[in-house]
């Protein structure tokens, strides 16, 4: 077993880095490409019940320290996504991300992902720019608990819950997810953000606001994982601004059993996974960590 192997509960990973939802994961072929690039798993695009175009362009821009997007959860809908999953699943771990508007819809979507042989399902309770979805329903602990419980009773595969940093009660929400039966907590989604173009005196994005990701949000994500590790007992997955092995090590030492990479695909390409894996392995050997698990939460007293 490689020094880099880890597990998120029952989901074993050969390498600890996964592709974050929303990055190169809307088609079967692109998910396969990311697995081949060294990702331990690919989290699919968040899929809803119906085909959805998402927000009109402009829905993306680079900013200092990262990028701001308001894609608006575009996707072909859960029925058509069967074909993409069928193409990708034989090549490795695919975590099926789903975005519903209520508990029943989440349960139905998760059931489909289980049918499609996802190794786990990730509930998007954190997208900051899709009305009626994501963060709008993911910041109420009671609602979060009921959604997770409904999904848990509908599927046998592990249920991961991706949370938003756009709240002052992150720990309560995570505890609610754990009470509902969540098998892992994933944090963070993007920070709600806006870009204005002074020349036009208008917000740049068609949706006006979007979510900030990339290196600028990393310290926010690391803090979130550190806080979560102090209160929940389920495994954690760290995500937000990871570009190199140091970033990944920070998340792991804050308490994450594994991590996800998204925005760095912009700057480093799919090759970012090989780069982070190599760097992490070197660091672990140099500093005497025999396994990822031995690093998890190391920064806590």
């Amino acid at each position: 077993m490689s020094i880099l192997s880890t597990a998120v509960g029952k989901v074993g990973l050969k390498t600890p880095g996964m592709v974050a939802s929303g990055i190169m994961d809307e088609t079967g072929a692109s998910m396969v490409r990311m697995l081949k690039a060294g990702a331990g798993a690919v989290v699919s695009k968040s899929i809803g019940s119906e085909p959805k175009a998402g927000h009109a362009n402009p829905c993306f821009t680079e900013v200092e320290g990262g990028l701001v997007n308001a894609m608006g959860l575009p996707g072909p809908g859960i029925e058509l996504f069967a074909e993409e999953m069928a193409e990708a699943v034989p090549h490795g771990n695919i975590v099926g991300s789903v975005a519903g508007g209520n508990a029943d819809e989440f349960a139905m979507l998760a059931g489909k992902m289980e049918d499609y042989k996802a190794c786990a399902v990730e509930l998007n309770l954190s997208c900051p720019h899709a009305k009626g979805y994501g963060m709008e329903i993911g910041t109420d602990p009671a609602l979060v608990k009921s959604i997770v419980a409904a999904v848990k009773s509908a599927v046998n595969i592990p249920v991961w819950v991706k949370l938003t940093p756009n709240t002052h009660i992150l720990q309560q929400i995570a505890l609610a997810a754990q009470d509902g039966g969540a098998d892992a907590i994933v944090a963070i989604n993007t920070l709600k953000a806006m870009v204005i173009s002074p020349e036009f005196a208008k917000p740049f994005l068609s949706n006006k606001f979007g979510g900030l990701s990339g290196p600028a949000v990393k310290p926010v994500g690391v803090r979130a994982i550190y806080d979560l590790k102090s209160v929940v007992s389920v495994p954690l997955v760290g995500v937000g601004g990871i570009t190199n092995w140091r970033d990944a090590a920070e998340y792991i030492m804050a308490g994450a059993d594994a991590f996800q990479i998204g925005s760095a695909v912009l700057t480093d390409g799919p090759e970012v996974f090989a780069k982070v894996n190599d760097g992490l392995e070197k660091f672990m050997k140099d500093y005497g960590y025999a396994s990822i698990k031995s690093m998890v939460g190391a920064a806590h007293e």
């Binding site: 929303g22 990055i23 190169m24 994961d25 809307e26 088609t27 072929a29 692109s30 396969v32 490409r33 695009k45 085909p51 959805k52 175009a53 998402g54 009109a56 362009n57 402009p58 829905c59 993306f60 821009t61 680079e62 900013v63 200092e64 990028l67 997007n69 894609m71 575009p74 996707g75 072909p76 809908g77 058509l80 074909e83 870009v195 173009s197 020349e199 036009f200 208008k202 740049f204 068609s206 998204g262 925005s263 695909v265 912009l266 390409g269």
Partner: protein, 255 residues
């Protein structure tokens, strides 16, 4: 990062195409593109039709967004992201034959000017042939084809390419145009045993290689492309067959 630039010059190329020049410091290669936006339209990818310090886009009026761009005058402002994409590989010491079909001519014009290579410009009719003056100034030879025979060779660019290739061998064919043209051009190049670089197009959102909306068989048109080599195209099942709509659903070109 978005930059906001003033239009220095707006030129009418023909009945449905205008070229807008602006200054953008970022370096650009022939075949790269920018994401263009102003209030009242959706942001769209546009090939750079000039890639020096003064850059340009050449816009054919085909829908509401290009219609909006056509309203712009000198001094008006547009938002520009990029340049994005890989551009053409124009290594020196090779003989190129460069082909532009319709408004695809905008994308290849900087390559024509960088190399002076022999060039074919095609269109439905004489009035659809654009940027002729620039091609004639830069290229060793410029040949034209029109579907209706109103100007130059009566037929399409692929047929004309085959005729020219019979007279003289080239190391590489470089082209941009409608996918149906590129599909048959690719086939012709395979038959002739000549390498090609084709600039492809898909529905784009981020333009920068993260969202995955424009992928063809896992290749990002915005970042790994838009220019793909014959070897890469040989691996693509989507090329000439299907694309994806803004929801990511497969749309077949022919039923």
């Amino acid at each position: 990062m978005s930059e906001y630039v003033k239009i220095l010059k707006a030129t009418e190329n023909n009945y449905d195409t205008k070229t807008f020049e602006f200054e953008l410091d970022a370096e650009a290669k022939p075949g790269q593109f920018v994401m263009v936006w102003c209030p009242g339209m959706e942001e769209i990818p546009m090939s750079l039709s000039s890639t020096g310090k003064i850059k340009s886009i050449s816009v054919k009026r085909i829908g509401p967004d290009t219609e909006r761009l056509h309203q712009l005058k000198e001094g008006d402002v547009i938002g520009v992201r990029g340049p994005y994409g890989n551009g053409y590989d124009l290594s020196p010491g090779r003989e190129y034959l460069i082909i532009g079909g319709g408004i695809g001519t905008a994308s290849i014009m900087p390559a024509v000017e960088a190399t002076g290579a022999d060039t074919i410009i095609g269109g439905r009719s004489e009035r659809d042939l654009v940027l002729r003056d620039r091609a004639e100034k830069a290229a060793k030879n410029v040949w034209y084809s029109t579907d209706d025979g109103s100007f130059g060779f009566h037929g399409n660019t692929v047929q004309l390419m085959k005729e020219k290739y019979a007279e003289k061998k080239y190391d590489c064919v470089v082209a941009c145009g409608p996918e149906v043209m590129l599909f048959f051009l690719y086939k012709a190049c395979q038959e002739l045993g000549v390498e090609c670089q084709l600039s492809l197009e898909r529905h784009m959102k981020c333009g920068a290689g993260v969202c995955g909306c424009c992928v063809m068989d896992g290749q990002r048109v915005c970042k790994d492309g838009p220019v793909f080599t014959s070897a890469q195209i040989a691996e693509m099942k989507d090329f000439g067959v299907q694309k994806r709509d803004e929801c990511g659903r497969v749309v077949k070109f022919r039923k």
